[in-house]
Symmetry: C2
């Protein structure tokens, strides 16, 4: 089915979900591409334009919003974050699956614009484990940890707006990666994505 | 998620789809059970009651229909075929997935009674290949082949009533088995099967 358009896969995961590891595993599969987001925030040490982000001025970003060149965008802590539409469209047209790692609001925006997108929420097994994982890092102040937990809680309250919810049980990602592979495989076989199945069969 | 109820998986596949091989592969996985159907037709040489079928008299079968003891049933060539409900319920309650191999009409009946069932149509890659496979066996008369193709054609016209359509491309079953495994894994992660995901997360 190489003539099929790629799937747009939106993955959200709060702090402690191991989202980064899961997505880099998937990218190693082939058949998946990752969308480089655009942002107006300043590059951090070592970040490369076009690799970590497309770094844009506020004016340039707003011009792209106005020109409908952003598939989705959101403002967070005074900066814009968004997904350039052209890049995304190219990947999908080539038949590759496009992974978008975005937070809850962006995910909802994508689903509005692309109802055929598959949205997946990746969670630690429970809030108790999540808290333990965040504290276990030992690299952040109590205040920072509380802030991250609060934000995580808000995100998780939206988990039931996603198509799928998967869990990173052991923090090692293998099961969650397998879940996403299965979801993509199943979605490709779903009748709602293949309305011409009977016609094609007799062609 | 061992506390989860098993999935009721309905698989239909016309002649030449390789359904038998696919299902026996799946049963070797563990986690799947196969439902032994009941029938009023006479046992064929070598068939064992309770293994190949539960062989019932017409009166006994009709008493079970009246008592709502059949999850689904259909009449074909003057004989009843059906799935005993009690056995099916026990498997599902134990958390194991129940495989039902039934034809189009039975599948529609199951979906009416169990909307949460997952229905899968397994097909050869095309009608042309299907015909070739049936003829390639070289064991049947032309009349028998035509009859089987006609029946297959009728079944396939209903493919778009299924949740998923998968293909046995090479006749070797491995890809189709992988598809079913993926569908089951994805369905278990689907939000519609886990409505309490947020509540459970904070429990």
């Amino acid at each position: 089915m190489s003539e099929q358009r790629g799937l747009l896969i939106v993955v959200s995961g709060p702090a402690g979900s191991g989202k980064g590891t899961v997505l880099s595993e998937l990218l190693r599969d082939g058949g998946y591409r990752y969308s480089v987001s655009a942002t107006t925030r300043a590059p951090r040490q070592g970040e490369v334009d076009g690799v970590n982000y497309h770094f844009l001025s506020r004016e340039a970003f707003e011009a792209r919003i106005a020109g409908k060149e952003m598939l989705e965008y959101t403002e967070y802590c005074g900066n814009y974050y968004g997904t350039p539409r052209k890049e995304a469209e190219e990947v999908l047209a080539s038949g590759q699956n496009l992974l978008l790692e975005i937070e809850v609001e962006g995910a909802a925006n994508v689903k509005r614009e692309y109802p055929e997108a598959v949205s997946i929420m990746l969670l630690p097994p429970s809030f108790a484990v999540q808290e333990k994982r965040l504290r276990g890092r030992g690299t952040e102040t109590e205040e920072k940890i509380r802030e991250r937990l609060l934000r995580a809680r808000e995100e998780i309250l939206h988990a039931d707006e996603y198509d799928y919810v998967i869990y990173n049980h052991d923090g090692k990602s293998a099961e969650a990666v397998e879940d996403i592979r299965a979801i993509v495989r199943a979605e490709r076989a779903a009748l709602r994505r293949n309305p011409d199945v009977v016609k094609n069969y007799f062609a």
